[in-house]
């Protein structure tokens, strides 16, 4: 996909998807990205998957990203792929850290299930409508979201039998 194609796509998204007026584009280093507001994410993804003139049928991956200290701070990147045209498209949205909620796209792309859970686990972005909104890598009782930029590295105490009772609230 080239820069012109991206602009044309953005125009058709603006025209044909309700509430997606604020779509902006970014074409850098051969990578095409649509930047949209979190509220328009689900309709736009639905449009790109099904109704667009040239659909993007596969969601290869979802990435989380923390733009600390900027606001809106938490980014979610969706990488769409069209196998027929061998083209890729990134869809990017950013949410504020006070209420980090994005509509889940698992109903459109079931493969996003694990990856949205991963982003919830590491960044604390909540995916509304996710069928299984639990942590995936970290323990269920873990506090905090470790991939956030202000989450310190290290300092995680290792639990052994001898120091188990001394660990404050480690099991609660």
């Amino acid at each position: 996909m080239d820069a012109t194609g991206l602009e044309l796509l953005a125009r058709s998204v603006r025209e044909r998807v309700e509430g997606a007026d604020a779509v902006s584009t970014n074409f850098a280093r051969g990578e095409a990205t649509l930047e949209i507001a979190p509220s328009a994410l689900h309709p736009v993804m639905s449009f790109l998957k099904g109704e667009a003139d040239e659909p993007w049928e596969v969601l290869t991956s979802v990435h989380g990203c923390d733009y600390y200290p900027e606001e809106p701070r938490l980014g979610v990147h969706y990488m769409l792929l069209s196998m027929a045209r061998a083209e890729r498209l990134g869809v990017k949205t950013r949410v504020r850290s006070e209420a980090p909620t994005v509509r889940s796209v698992v109903d459109l792309f079931p493969g996003a299930n694990f990856q949205e859970r991963e982003i919830y686990d590491f960044f604390g972005v909540e995916f509304e409508g996710h069928p299984d909104p639990r942590r995936i890598h970290m323990p269920e009782d873990y506090e905090g979201h470790p991939q956030r930029r202000d989450f310190p590295i290290g300092g995680e105490p290792v639990i052994f039998t001898f120091n188990e009772p001394k660990m404050p609230r480690w099991y609660a």
Binding site: R88, H137, P139, R169, A172
Partner: protein, 440 residues
Amino acid sequence: MPEDGRPENGRDASGGVLTVPYREREESITLERMEAPIEGTLYEGEARRAEPESELFTINMGPHHPATHGVLRLLLTLEGEVVRELMPIIGYVHTGIEKSCEDQAYWKVIPFVERMDYLSYYFNAQAYCMAVERLLEEEVPRRAQYLRVIHLELNRIASHLFWLGTSALDLGAISMLWYSLRDREKILDLFENSSGQRLHTRYFQVGGVMEDIPPGWEAKCREFLADMPNRLDQYEALLDRNEILLQRLKGVGIVPEDTLLRLGVTGPLLRATGNPWDLRKAAPYSSYDHFEFKVPVGTLGDNYDRFAVRMEEMRQSVRIIDQALEGLPEGPYITENRKYALPPRHELATSMEALIHHFKLVTEGFRVAPGEIYYPIESPRGELGCFVRADGSSKPARVHMRDPSFSNLQALPHMVKDTYIADMIASLAMLDPIIGGIDR
């Protein structure tokens, strides 16, 4: 005490030490979702429930089970011997590699990412290096691209050989493990010869490779290449005409192509259904378009097709390495741009600039202009993509791997639904998950 009556800090109200309630940790994993059939809630299709008179039995398999190829835990709901539901539970070897990467200079991240998918370390390094090279807009010399291809394909063979040995072991063919590890050993010897390490070689650098291949390496590699097709013939003679193996694989674990695509499954699993999606052909990187090779595909998408596709991929890899050795161009093996690659040792004694570059690279590393990139390559297990966000400093602000095992694992419930437990072991083996890549 918290409201739910659980003791705080492992102590009761009077401050005495309580026995630690291990059970409470188990309770956090709820079985509620198991009541709802997977097909009915997540994906369209027939909602299938067990007959009311039949008894469903929930059993835990793993995390320390030899057939799960690592520390994978599976929560199975059985009806007799038949698997009705399956839920993978992962995270047991999560080591926070991606978090650690954010604290390292760009070139120091390479050994970290290599340890994610520990059987295809060259691929992890390649995805990361290419992402950073794309951010830097740095060209990789032709010779380095060819050397990368040679090592990537050797690694693909090594990874598939390990898969072949362990899968055959799961299906009861114990001797295959020794045969395939014998050949894998030769590849590891080649890696040791070219980079000094057998595993996690750190051979790929941003801008090229660490060192040129030593004299005599090419001859050794050719010796291996001449040997490999014969070996594969032998293995096929052992396995592909083995009645037990064929019955265990054929017609088992069929998942249609469109289900796999919706789940984002790539690699040999997808190719087994007949979809020829291979990034080496679809979006050639690192000079893959210079080589002639075929993309093997299956027809049904059952476990036998997955087996056959991987066997043929090894033959094609041999062809690619052969062509790459034949056409190996002369020239530098790493970029000449001293801003990103260490200067040669002999320059340090004579050139002040080289010394300064060396010092800056080793102490701070190079800086990368702000930007985000996603670079996918074809690993032995599917699309391995590396997402890197640069914030202008000498450390990446985010390194995220789209690991194929992680996405492909979601296909497992579909592969094993309504099959026997024994077939689940076969399906898991043919899925070829690497838990280090899943958990990172």
